[in-house]
Every structure is written in structure tokens, then in C-alpha cells.
């Protein structure tokens, strides 16, 4: 379940905190639609603007055009801000870190040209901060942008992302609702879907993500929606649908690493490890992101390919070195990797720092697991409870809590968590899924 927030803000997430869901949503959606039809005649424009917080995709050409515009209008703050924002998107897609540096330079330039009420640059800075997992900064920029222009959806998107990651879920739902009210486009619908996912309403999450797909105006937005439809299916134990969604996305964006990862996971769940390895390898060839490396490494490990898994782990360790040298906060994958394949104590330290910066459920879960691996199960349980406080249906979170409970001797609750984990997604993890089954067997044998 650490998946969604890890791709920081591409665009997914939320929608409002409704008490009893469907009706309110349906009404809201109807109103949004009406408002949208009346208020935004230019679909192209809309897609372009929403890209500020929306799906990534192949936007390199757009970046080139924006560079050209900046060359022509070097004193125009909006041109600089748009370039910076586009570079943030590009960095997210290609995992090209240098693009963040470029993005910041462009955005700072824009702010230097127009320090106050610079909506585009404020949104861009917010997106940049979120992409770098600096969510407090992202929140500040989003609020600034909203003061500058209270009716710009993209600003609410960043606000919602930051609030979510900072653990302020109710506020984030409100922000998503506002965003969707302003413009029910792919970007706001994807965020709405995420709010349902967080709260464990997978059905709604799927339905709304389907709407986000239909509303998607760019290939990037479509790829993004397919990726998440695939993972929603997979994480609810439906690998066949997951595979289909991933394939649909890849038909349009054959080199999208997120979709390749989704297909790899679906293949793995369907018992086709060869194709899973190939897809992971292809994803890593494009961008060696920690989640792909960890996924492939653990898959190889489960297949008994020690050397191959070690190769992936070596790269993860190299990334950890760089992270530490830069003093950046640790990500969920890095903590889990350290806990399972490195030094659990180190993982605890990383998680402590991370959770204070970003008290998000996935971070609580990673913290819980690190504590457990370090033998601190009491504290671990408290964190695991926090991770599941929203009612999120995450097999991994449940497995973690079940295992912690088992260590604490609470076998009944442990068994229930483990059962639920496997019921949610029988293939949730190449190594842990079978561990969960073993644990259940052991508990049953003991009783």
C-alpha cells in the first residue's frame, strides 16, 4: 500500500470526505459535470492546465516548446513557471533528477521576475516540493497559490496531496472535493479515487478511477489511470483484470515504467515469473526506481535466484548511500528494504525521521515493520494500528500487523489480520504471502 503515495503527486488522489459516499458523490459529480460543460469550453486548455498536477506522460516535446517560449520571452514569469512545472512532470516520469534542479531554476526565475501573486510559479513550486517529498513546503506553496487565486483547481490538487501525506486526511478530502467542484477532470477524479482507496472503499475507488480514465485528455493521464486501475485490481486479488489494464496502458505507452511494473506484478500473481522478471527489467531499464528494484529483487529471491536479487539490492544500497549523503528523507521502500535486507535498527532510525516529516499511513506501516524487525513489537503495534486507522484494505499492512501481533503472542488477532491479508490479495508479496500462509498454519497447529 505504499504504492500510491510514492509516486508523489502525479495526480491521483482524492475526493471528498463524504459521510456516506455514493449519493453525495453522485450529486457532486453531476454538478461538476454541469459546471465543467458550462465553464470550460476548451478541452485542450484544460488538459494543459491540469497537467500542473496531473498525470505525467511523455511531455518532453512540450518541454521543448516551453523552452523555446522562454527563449523568446525571457522576461515573462508565466513562461518560466510553465517550463518549471513541465520539468517537474518530466522528472516524475523519467525519474531524471537533474530535471528537478532545472525545474527549480526555472521556477525561481519566474518568482524573481514576479515575486508576489505568481500563481503559476507557486503551483509549480508546490508540485516540485511534493515531487521531492517536501510536503510541508508543498503545503505552504499550495496555500499561497490558493490565496493568489482561490479558484484554480491545480492548487487544490497540490494542497490535497500535501495534506494526505501529512496525515491530515479530512482536510485533504475537502481539498479534493473543492478541486473536483472546480473542475471534475481526470486529475481531480484520480485524486477522488485515491481517497476511496485510502478508506478501503475499493469499489468506489475503481469506479471513480474509471471515470478519471474516461476524462483523461492526454496519453499521460490515460497511462496513469490504467496503472492505478491495474494496481487497484491486483491489490483486491484480481490479477487478470490487473494484467488487462496494464496491457491497455502499455498499448499506448509501451515504455511507461509504472505500467511495466503493474504488468510485472500481474504476471507474478498469475504465476508467470519469467514475464514478470522481463517486465521489471524493462521498467528498471527506463528508471531504476527503488520500488521496481525491490520488487524485482524480492521476486528473484522468491525464485531462488540469489545473485540476481543481490544485484538489485546492491543498487538499492547505492541509492541509500546517495540519499544519506544528500540528507534527504527516506522513502517507504528504502525503509522496508533496510528492515528486511539490511540493518533493522538503521531502518527504525530512518523511519523515525521519515514519520515525523510525513506522518502518512504507509510511513507508519514501514515504521511498524522496521520496529518489528528490530524486536520492538509493542511500539510496532501502535504504528501498525495507525497505518490501518483509515480502514485501508492493504494486504501488506495487514500482514505486517498480523506478524507483529503474532510476535506479541496475540495469535487470534494475528490470525485474523493474516487471513484478511490473504483474502484481500493472495499474491500480495512474493516472499511475505507464503510467509503469511505459513504463519496461519503454525497458529492453527499450535491451537
Amino acid at each position: 500500500m505504499h504504492r500510491p503515495e510514492d509516486e508523489p503527486a502525479p495526480s491521483i488522489r482524492r475526493r471528498r470526505p463524504l459521510r456516506n459516499g455514493a449519493i453525495t458523490i453522485a450529486l457532486g459529480v453531476a454538478m461538476f459535470t454541469a459546471g465543467a460543460v458550462a465553464a470550460s469550453p476548451a478541452g485542450v486548455n484544460r488538459a494543459a492546465e491540469s497537467s500542473a498536477s496531473a498525470a505525467p506522460g511523455v511531455q518532453v516535446r512540450g518541454v521543448e516548446a516551453l523552452r523555446e517560449r522562454v527563449r523568446r520571452l525571457p522576461a515573462d514569469p508565466v513562461s518560466w513557471a510553465d517550463l518549471g512545472t513541465a520539468l517537474v512532470q518530466q522528472a516524475r516520469t523519467t525519474a531524471d533528477q537533474s530535471a528537478y534542479t532545472q525545474a527549480e531554476a526555472a521556477l525561481r526565475r519566474s518568482l524573481a521576475l514576479q515575486p508576489g501573486e505568481n500563481l503559476h510559479a507557486e503551483i509549480g513550486m508546490g508540485a516540485l516540493a511534493a515531487a521531492r517529498h517536501e510536503f510541508h513546503d508543498a503545503l505552504t506553496w499550495a496555500r499561497k497559490a490558493i490565496v493568489t487565486s482561490p479558484a484554480t483547481p491545480a492548487a487544490y490538487g497540490i494542497l490535497a496531496d500535501a495534506l494526505t501525506q501529512l496525515g491530515q486526511y479530512e482536510d485533504s478530502y475537502t481539498a479534493v472535493q473543492t478541486m473536483a467542484d472546480l473542475r471534475p477532470d481526470s486529475s481531480s477524479l484520480a485524486r477522488a479515487s485515491y481517497t476511496f482507496e485510502l478508506r478501503g472503499d475499493t469499489l468506489q475507488a475503481k469506479a471513480v478511477m474509471g471515470r478519471a480514465l474516461r476524462a483523461a485528455g492526454t496519453p499521460g493521464e490515460r497511462a496513469f489511470a490504467h496503472t492505478h486501475l491495474s494496481s487497484l485490481a491486483l491489490e483486491s486479488g484480481d490479477p487478470a483484470t490487473a494484467l488487462r489494464e496494464a496491457r491497455r496502458g502499455l498499448a499506448e505507452a509501451p515504455q511507461d515504467p509504472g505500467l511495466l511494473e503493474a504488468r510485472a506484478k500481474a504476471h507474478a500473481a498469475l504465476g508467470q515469473p519469467g514475464q514478470a522478471v522481463a517486465d521489471y527489467t524493462a521498467a528498471i531499464a527506463v528508471a531504476p526506481l527503488p520500488q521496481y528494484l525491490l520488487g524485482l529483487g524480492e521476486l528473484q529471491q522468491s525464485l531462488g535466484h540469489r545473485a540476481d536479487s543481490e544485484s538489485q539490492y546492491a543498487v538499492l544500497r547505492a541509492q541509500e548511500k546517495i540519499r544519506r549523503a544528500e540528507g534527504a528523507p527516506a522513502d517507504v521502500d528504502a525503509i522496508l528494504f533496510e528492515a528486511d535486507h539490511g540493518a533493522p535498527r538503521q531502518a527504525v532510525a530512518m523511519a523515525e525521521a521519515a514519520v515525523s516529516e510525513r506522518p502518512f499511513i504507509a510511513v507508519h506501516d514501514a515504521y511498524a515493520w522496521a520496529l518489528h524487525r528490530a524486536g520492538r513489537d509493542e511500539e510496532a503495534l501502535a504504528q501498525a494500528d495507525k497505518a490501518l486507522a483509515l480502514g485501508t484494505r492493504s494486504a501488506l499492512f495487514l500482514f505486517h500487523r498480523g506478524t507483529i501481533r503474532q510476535s506479541l503472542g496475540n495469535t487470534a488477532d494475528a490470525r485474523r489480520d493474516l487471513e484478511r491479508a490473504l483474502a484481500t490479495d493472495p499474491y500480495f508479496h512474493p516472499v511475505h504471502a507464503s510467509a503469511a500462509r505459513t504463519s496461519i498454519r503454525r497458529i492453527d497447529d499450535a491451537s
Binding site: 523568446r72 534542479t101 524493462a282 531499464a285 543498487v315 546517495i322 549523503a325
Partner: protein, 560 residues
Amino acid sequence: MNLLTRRRLTAVPLAAVLLVPIAQIAAAPAATAHPLGNFTVNYSTSITLRPDAVDAEIVVDRAEIAAAQQRPLVDQNHDGSVTKGEAQAYADEECAVLTRQLGADIGSRKARWDSGPSMLTFHPGEAGLETSRLACHLTAEADLGSSTAIRVTTHYDTRRVGWHEITANGRGVTVADSTVPAASPTNQLRHYPRDPLAAPLDQRTAELRATPGDGPAARIVPPGLPGSGPATAALNKVSTLFDTLVGSRELTVPVGLLALLLAVVLGASHAAMPGHGKTIMAAYLAGRRGTPRDAFTVGATVTLTHTAGVLALGLALPLATHLAGETVLVWLGLASGLLVTAIGLQLLRSALRGKANHHHHHSHSHHSHDHHSDHDGPGHSHGSGHGHGPGHGHGHGHGHDAPAGLPPARRAPGTPSTDGSVVVLTKHAPASHSHSHSDRHEAAGPARSPARRGRWALVGVGIAGGLVPSPSALVVLLGAIALGRTAFGVLLVIGYGLGMAVTLTLAGLLLVRLRDRIAVHAAERASQRLKTLGRIGPAATSALVLLVGIGLTVRALTGI
């Protein structure tokens, strides 16, 4: 990176000189974060054309994380350390893969690469990690003895984000019409640009034409504008800006217009540089019965001639392989030196004799005809030494040439009233205007046949001023052609010629006015001293021309 595409031509010799030492210094890269991000895999492909082969050097620079991913593949026995043998084995294997991925069509034939040495090295990077650098050397036999089209295509694994550059150079072979720069903008992936605006380079193909011999392009490249001081510095800035504009990725209307404007400015300032055709013209105008109309005639002629000359040369150079050789330039230089010498001799002779000018015309015409045939087109290109010396040579030749073939008294009325004053003035002209044999004719007998001959002489002067193609204009044109913007280049050259014409015309107009004023004075009291000067001046100037001619000849001879 843009830097290079923009300034391709100018950058060639400079980069060649500078890069060697830098390459050595840069052998130990600083241990800082990879400027392109630590995921990147960057490729550089350097093509070198030789008369009998095409060499390629492929360099793959892997940033920290990419190098970490590569390491298990290198460390075959997984013992955590990479031995020399392991590194070599990996390098050979990887280079074999890259060799298959590098396609080159040489003429109609596919290059068959033979692999040379390959090498994998590790370099300190961020956070105690290493970056890796793989270098592969390949060579393919090729016969580049005649003009050959070459197309290089890379099929490397570029799924990962990174820098992809191609460069093409010639050694004993000229690279013309290249779509890629000659020198690596990153010094073969050792230094990346830090401009936040710069997109990573993404070159995957190169198209070029190899022509035998070391090319003129490199030799023509100007040493910059002569002289020093703030004015020159400012001009150099303008020309740098100009190059930037011409090379800019996408040409927009404002950028194009600005470039055109700058071309005019550069042309105007070029004409103002010392030792240009301007001096000839000034002398002619001053010496002859000049009117504002004459000044315009000269200006127009200059523009036309210059544009035509540069265009002929610029368009012929890449095509006519035989003109490209260095030797041709040397011989042309010699011819022009001899010509100037001959002119100088002739001038001196008539100056000493103080004879009528008809003779001059005949004798000059001779030379100029020879000269003409030698030099039309490419001949002038060599602009040996920025065209000062030969410039005058041509100028004189043509100046005298034209009148020769025509009856000397056909000119339309003009402004008879000024004739009188001209006579007076021309006697004294040498005193105020440093040189030029042209004065000579006037001194001899301006009043006699000024009409028709005068007009043709003016046209000749214009031709003289324009014929020596300005090296910078040529570079601009060649650069534009290399960038695939021939039409734009032609436009710029025309602008450049116009700029020159403006300066020359203004100078001419100024002289006309000045002369009229002096004439009044002179007519009133033509002092004895002035008369003396008038007599010595022509001899002195013709001696000077002779000296220049000899100097050029000697220089050309040493070059053979």
C-alpha cells in the same frame, strides 16, 4: 551543446587547440553529483574521417546508480571486486554490442567495423560511489578519395534518460555539410552544461559529406575582427550574438530579423575596418569628379559583387571538391600577389613618367583579365589575410580594367560645372588622402575623358570593394548551410553586403562633400607646396602598392 551546433565553424580550430589540454586535465573528474542525475546513461560517438578509413570512438558514461547496476555484470564471480580481467572482458563484450548498434553508410556501402581497444574505467562519484566510463574504438575501411556522403545512425539502448551526442571530424579529409558538430560539447562526456535551460542533447544520427583534403573551412575561419580596444570588443560581442542567433534551434521571425539586422551592422563595421576597399573608393571619389550619385553607384556595386562572390564561393566550396585543397588557395594567393605587384609596377612607372592615363588602362586591363579568370569565385575566398592585400590588388585591377574596353568619352553629361573644381582638387588629393594610384589618372588628365570612363571606374571600384569576400560573411554562409538553412544564410550575406555598401556609400558621400569644400579653398589659393605633394604622392602610393604586391607574393611562395 547548442553552443557547438551554433558556432560550429568558428569553434573548429579553437576547440581543436583547446580541447587537448583540457582533456588531459579532466582525466580526474571531481567527486560531485552527476550533473544529469545519477540514473543517467550517456553516450558520445566521435567519428573521425581519414582518407582511407572511418574511425569511431564510443564513450558510455554511467552515472552512479547506472554504474551500480552495471557492476554485478562486470563482477562475474560476484566476489565484490572488479579485477582488470573482469573489466576488460566486460568492456570487450559491451563494445561488441555497441559496435553492432552503430550503423554507418559510407557512400552506398555499409561500414564494417573492426574493433580496436576497449576499456572500462571507474571514477569517483557522489557519496563514495563510482561512475563508470566505457570507451570503445572502432575503425572501418573506407575510400574517401572522392566526395562521399556518410550517414551514421546509433541504435544504442537509450531507454534510460541521458545525453546522446555525435561529433564528426576529418583528418586529411574535410567534413562538409555535417549535421553534427566537430568538437564534443561535453569533451566526450566529461563536462555537462549546467544551463538550466539546456535540454540534454539527443543526437542519434549524423549526416555528412567527406571531401578529400584538409578543408578551407578551417582555414577561412577569421581570426576575429582585427585590432583591439573597446570598439572591437563591442563588435566581437555583436558577432558572437549573431552566431548565436543564426545557430539558434528554431528560427522565429524576430530572431531572424535580428540576425539580419546584425548582419547589416557587421557588414557596415567590416567595411569600416582598415585596409578595405573603402580606401580605394575614397580615393576614386575624391580624385575624380564625384557626385553623390557616384557614391551610390559604388555602394550598389559593392553589395552586388560581395553578395555574388560570397555566394559563389560559399555554395561552390562544399560541392567542388577540387577547389577545397589548400594548394589551390596558395596558388590563388600567389596569383593575386603577382597581380598586385604588376599593378604597382605599372602605377609606379606612369607616376614617374607623369604620363597620360590611356596607357595605364591598357596595361592594367591586361592584368586584370588574367586575374579575373583566376579569381572569380573561390579564388577570392582565401581572402589571404583578411583580404587587405589582395583586396587592393583586385580592386585596382578591376578599376582600370573596365575603362580599358570602352571608348573613353562616352559618358553622359554628369555635372560639367564640377569638372573645373575637380581638376584643381585632384592635383592635391594625394595630400589629403593618403594613397591610391587612382589619383594618378586624375593628375594626369582628369578633364580629358572623365565622363564614361569615370562611371566605369566607379563600378570597378565597387567591384573591388565587394569582390574580396569577407571571411566572416563566408563563415556565416557556410555555417547556415551546415545547419541546413541555406536560404537564411544567403539572406544574411545579402544583408552583410548591404551593410558594407552603407558604410562605403556614406564614406563616399562624406568625401564628395569634403572635396567640394577643399576644392573651393584650393581653387582660391593653390599653394606651391600642395602642388609638390601632388607630384610626389602618386609615386609614393604606387610604390606602396608595389610593396604590398611583393609582400603577398613572397607570402604565397612560402606557403607552397
